[in-house]
């Protein structure tokens, strides 16, 4: 090398500190010093580095308070240790783990990027650091995460870490690389500033900014979560056989760059495909291979985990194994001169390093099941066109059965109705003292009671118009609505009219009708006695639709408001009478006393006149004549 540096001195002392000061003063994410490899002359490898990006978790238990300085250095060292331990291979998988302060789960995406960079080596003239060294000129790369991988071999990695700007410049026979998650315009003075202020002076300046604060990653903001979808869209279901793999699609959150996406995606797929077939022993059943998995664990951020942290240490040994494998691959790849292959191997590198390092509990376990899905699975790949074909039962109540299970079935059980409490005052949980005895009870014994209740509900339902559903809740709801409506109407009429008030009839109500009233609507009745009544205003003008019926023509002039038609045992009653509270109940009772069983009641109140259409049937063998029915009902029309 032209630099003529001794290998032993390739990493200057105190460099880490200098890097630290430099990168922190400009608030970038990391600084790496690439130096000439001692083992392989002509190749740049990791010399030293300082990490200044955001941090996911600090696991270390610290006796002393460390200042930002020390913390940053410590973190960088821990990252290095972690890398060493992960790449140490399977030599002693169990024993070396405890010495590492960090585990892969603790890292943020940017830290991953930083960590994975440690595994890279560059030929002089290759890659960003290699070219920088060869040309002796700084390189300023913006949009690093979208750069062609020939230019910037770590672009996919950068994408996952949201690294957008990378700068390399020659320094002390090696190359200093700086990176940041922001887009920074080219600024030679910045390089100069870094060089002169920090790297080349012996006594560092104290930095003002504490580590980790500067570089906020975007993925803390869920709204920014775009991207990546395209990758995932590309037909999942890998046909992977043999070893399950955890393919890693860049799990980043860079935003605002959608236009570039398709190219990236296809590139990724192609790359992975190529890489896989080249090195790994995966088999593909067809060309549909696409990438699936992504490591969620590390994409997440610092939100504290309230409850549970899934335990996942199980997979470590496997991860290491793969790791070794791929590090080895990496070596091979780097010796390859073909740029074409490099592209792929870098992707593979990216993918396999990450997947192995990251390896945690979630694997694409479905892979084996899905691999033959066309033959075995009941499921077929989803596509948008499928939507058009699928039946969409229109008009039906959505979630019909589910709603019945949740809303209706519970009401079937109980005689008592459970109203949802509206006491919104108490929000927090209170608990009742422990109950040690359990009530074993026989639901059957209650059935008699329930049946009675059901019967009453049925009656109520028959009295209230516009009942849509059969369940008790709806019946009550409609009844309540109806009552409200009626009350409102009463109010209107009371305030608006100047007619003579008429006393309610307080006597002559049939006693048996009172007895037959159940509690459910008893209240209505007890309140109604003194309410004023409304004069009837309209004469009957109900159309008769079935002329063949045995029709009883009303004879009395002004009270001819009852029409009774009989067809076999079916009785149709149409009547009008002045409305007052409880009158409907009395009518129903009267009808019931005539051994008539109502199966449909329509009622409406217009200007104080109650119009009723009742369809009923004789329930007993005794059949009242139409005249009797009429007579029985006419008393209501006269009441005023």
């Amino acid at each position: 090398m032209a630099t003529g540096l001794q290998m032993e001195e390739r990493v200057p002392e105190n460099l880490k500190k200098k890097l630290a000061l430099a990168v922190r003063s400009i608030q970038w994410s990391y600084a790496i010093f690439w130096s000439i490899s001692a083992r392989q002359p002509g190749v740049l490898e990791w010399g030293d580095g300082y990490y200044n990006g955001d941090i996911k978790t600090r696991k270390t238990i610290q006796a002393l308070e460390l200042n930002a300085d020390q913390l940053g250095l410590q973190r960088s060292e821990q990252l290095r240790e972690l890398y060493d331990s992960l790449s140490a291979g399977e030599a002693s998988p169990q024993s070396r783990r405890p010495s590492v302060a960090l585990s892969p789960e603790d890292l943020s995406d940017t830290e991953w990027y930083y960590l994975v960079c440690m595994s890279f080596v560059f030929n002089i003239g290759q890659g960003l650091p290699g070219r920088t060294l060869a040309n002796g000129e700084p390189i300023w790369l913006r949009n690093a995460h979208f750069a062609d991988s020939k230019v910037f071999s770590r672009s996919l990695l950068a994408k996952s870490a949201s690294i957008q700007t990378v700068v390399c410049f020659p320094f002390l026979g090696g190359v200093i690389e700086l990176g940041v998650t922001d887009l920074v315009l080219e600024d030679p003075s910045l390089i100069q500033h870094v060089k002169t202020s920090f790297l080349e002076i012996p006594h560092p300046i104290i930095s003002k900014k504490s580590a980790g604060a500067g570089n906020t990653r975007n993925d803390k903001n869920p709204a920014c979560a775009v991207l990546d979808q395209d990758i995932l869209d590309t037909k999942l279901v890998p046909h992977v056989q043999g070893e399950e793999l955890d393919m890693v699609s860049p799990n980043n959150s860079s935003n605002g760059f959608e236009p570039n996406q398709p190219a990236e995606d296809s590139f990724l797929v192609e790359g992975m495909n190529g890489g896989a077939s080249q090195v790994q022993s995966w088999q593909f059943m067809d060309e549909e291979f696409s990438n699936c998995v992504h490591h969620s664990m590390n994409s997440s951020d610092c939100i504290s985990q309230t409850f549970v942290e899934p335990e996942n240490d199980v997979s470590v040994p496997k991860g290491e194994q793969v790791n070794d494998h791929c590090l080895q691959d990496l070596q091979e790849c780097n010796h390859t001169k073909m740029c074409f292959l490099d592209v792929r191997s870098n992707d593979l590198h990216y993918q396999s390093v990450l997947s192995s390092l990251l390896k945690s509990s979630h694997q694409l376990i479905l892979g084996p099941y899905f691999r033959n899905y066309q033959r075995e699975s009941s499921f077929v790949s989803w596509n948008k066109k499928g939507l058009a074909h699928c039946q969409n039962p229109g008009g039906e109540t959505p979630q019909k059965l589910l709603k019945k299970v949740l809303f209706v079935v519970p009401r079937m059980h109980v005689g008592d109705l459970f109203d949802s409490p509206e006491d919104n005052g108490i929000k927090d949980v209170v608990w009742r003292p422990e109950a040690d005895e359990i009530g074993m009870s026989n639901a059957l014994a209650e059935r008699g009671q329930k049946e009675k209740l059901n019967e009453r509900f049925f009656t109520l339902k028959s009295m209230v118009p516009s009942i849509s559903k059969d369940d008790k809740l709806s019946i009550l709801d409609d009844a309540i609505e109806y009552l409200k409506e009626l009350e409102r109407r009463v109010g209107e009429l009371e305030s608006g009219r100047e007619l003579t008030e008429v006393e309610a009839r307080t006597k002559g109500k049939s006693q048996d009708s009172v007895e037959r009233t159940s509690d459910n609507y008893g209240n209505n009745k007890t309140n109604n006695i003194k309410k004023p009544l409304i004069n009837k205003r309209k004469a009957c003008d109900i159309d008769e639709t079935e002329p063949e019926r045995n029709r009883v023509v009303p004879k009395e002039g002004s009270t001819d408001n009852v029409i009774v038609s009989m067809t076999n045992r079916e009785v149709l009653i149409q009547m009008r009478c002045p409305w007052r509270e409880g009158v409907l109940l009395e009518i129903m009772d009267a009808i019931s006393n005539l051994q008539l069983d109502c199966h449909s009641v329509q009622s409406s109140t217009v200007e104080g006149t109650l119009s009723l259409n009742i369809k009923s049937k004789f329930k007993g063998s005794v059949v009242a004549s139409a005249g009797m029915i009429k007579q029985a009902l006419q008393r209501f029309t006269r009441k005023c």
Binding site: D228, L232, P310, L366, R375, W382, L401, L402, H413, I426
Partner: protein
């Protein structure tokens, strides 16, 4: 891609159909021997639970011989086998009460009828329950009386009862031994820790106030995630318990309302949902959702609205669905 008409086939290499004389709703699958319990849905007192035996090797699913089926008062709102393999014969059902059944060779014996109400001989109706698989003696029920009741089913006593919500509680799911979550007509998802019964944490509230949340599924492979469905909504809402109030994803590819959800028992990233559009969709959750939403990975179309879905750890490569009077096991 074509799929044979479901009506004509009772058995197909990748799906097995059981046709019942009644509409079906509740479903449960046991560990070995693999059995499937199906509950009828008849809006009357008399309902039935049938126990079928399932052999994944020979792909047979038939009524157990000798026939094992029993009357159930009212439709069971949920059925579930004991979560541990040690008690494969214990079946629980919810409805008017929480009931435990011992499935014997020839009959199903009611073991206990558990009533959570001290004051009344009636139990507040139960909408659902979940058996704690970490601590199988613990079982939680949800009720329309706004409470959740935690049972010690071995002793047959109430461990605790919490007023969990402002309105009816529709579903309950365990996370860990002492942590459970519930959804309610009040539109909230809340998490409870039995060690601190004074407080609950609201994880999510439906966007329109008081849109009931009907079902809840907690991802047992990655407890940070849970899923819920709303009334009259085609969405499956995925929640991250670390980020309350804001769902991490909304899966919106159902063409009609969703009726059931179930996380994959063997993967933290997969969830299946089924709905009125007759489809069961398997989703793979990406790390980051794209601007156009998340597409499902694969789809199965049933003959009619799918009302029930179980992706049981007992048979992880089969998904059980119920629609009209059929129960179908689908190869994943």
């Amino acid at each position: 891609m074509e799929h044979p008409s479901q009506d004509s086939l009772l058995k197909h290499p990748n799906s097995i159909t059981y046709e019942s004389p009644y509409p079906l709703y509740a479903l449960a699958i046991s560990h070995s021997p693999h059995r499937v319990a199906v509950g009828s849905f008849l809006e009357t007192f008399n309902n039935r639970v049938d126990v079928l035996s399932f052999d994944p090797e020979t792909l047979t699913l038939k009524p157990q011989l000798p026939a094992l089926s029993f009357d159930h008062p009212y439709p069971p709102t949920k059925l579930m086998f004991h979560p541990s393999t040690s008690s494969p014969n214990l079946l629980a059902s919810s409805g008017d009460f929480l009931r435990l059944w011992d499935l014997r060779d020839h009959s199903a014996e009611p073991l206990s009828v558990l009533n959570n109400s001290k004051s009344s001989e009636f139990c507040a109706p139960l909408t659902s329950f979940d058996w704690n698989d970490v601590e199988p003696r613990r079982l939680g029920t949800s009720s329309i009386d706004t409470t959740c009741t935690i049972w010690d089913v071995e002793r047959g006593v109430v461990e605790t009862q919490l007023i969990a919500h402002d309105k009816e509680v529709y579903d309950i799911a365990w996370g860990e031994a002492r942590v459970f979550s519930s959804v309610s007509a009040d539109g909230s998802v809340r998490i409870f820790d039995l060690r601190d019964k004074e407080h609950s944490t609201i994880i999510y509230e439906s966007p329109q106030p008081d849109t009931p949340l009907l079902r809840l599924a907690w991802n047992k492979q990655d407890l940070r995630y849970m899923a819920t469905i709303l009334m009259d909504s085609n969405k499956v809402v995925i929640l991250d318990i670390r980020a309350p109030t804001m769902p991490v994803a909304e899966l919106e590819r159902h063409a009609a309302s969703v009726n059931a959800i179930s996380w994959a028992p063997q993967s933290s990233r997969h969830i299946c949902s089924a709905g009125d559009d007759t489809q069961a969709l398997i989703w793979e959750l990406p790390t980051v959702a794209g601007p156009n939403g998340i597409d499902p990975m694969s789809v199965y179309s049933a003959g009619s609205e799918i009302n029930q879905l179980q992706w049981s750890a007992a048979v992880p490569d089969w998904i059980a669905v119920a629609f009209s009077n059929k129960m179908q096991l689908l190869k994943v």
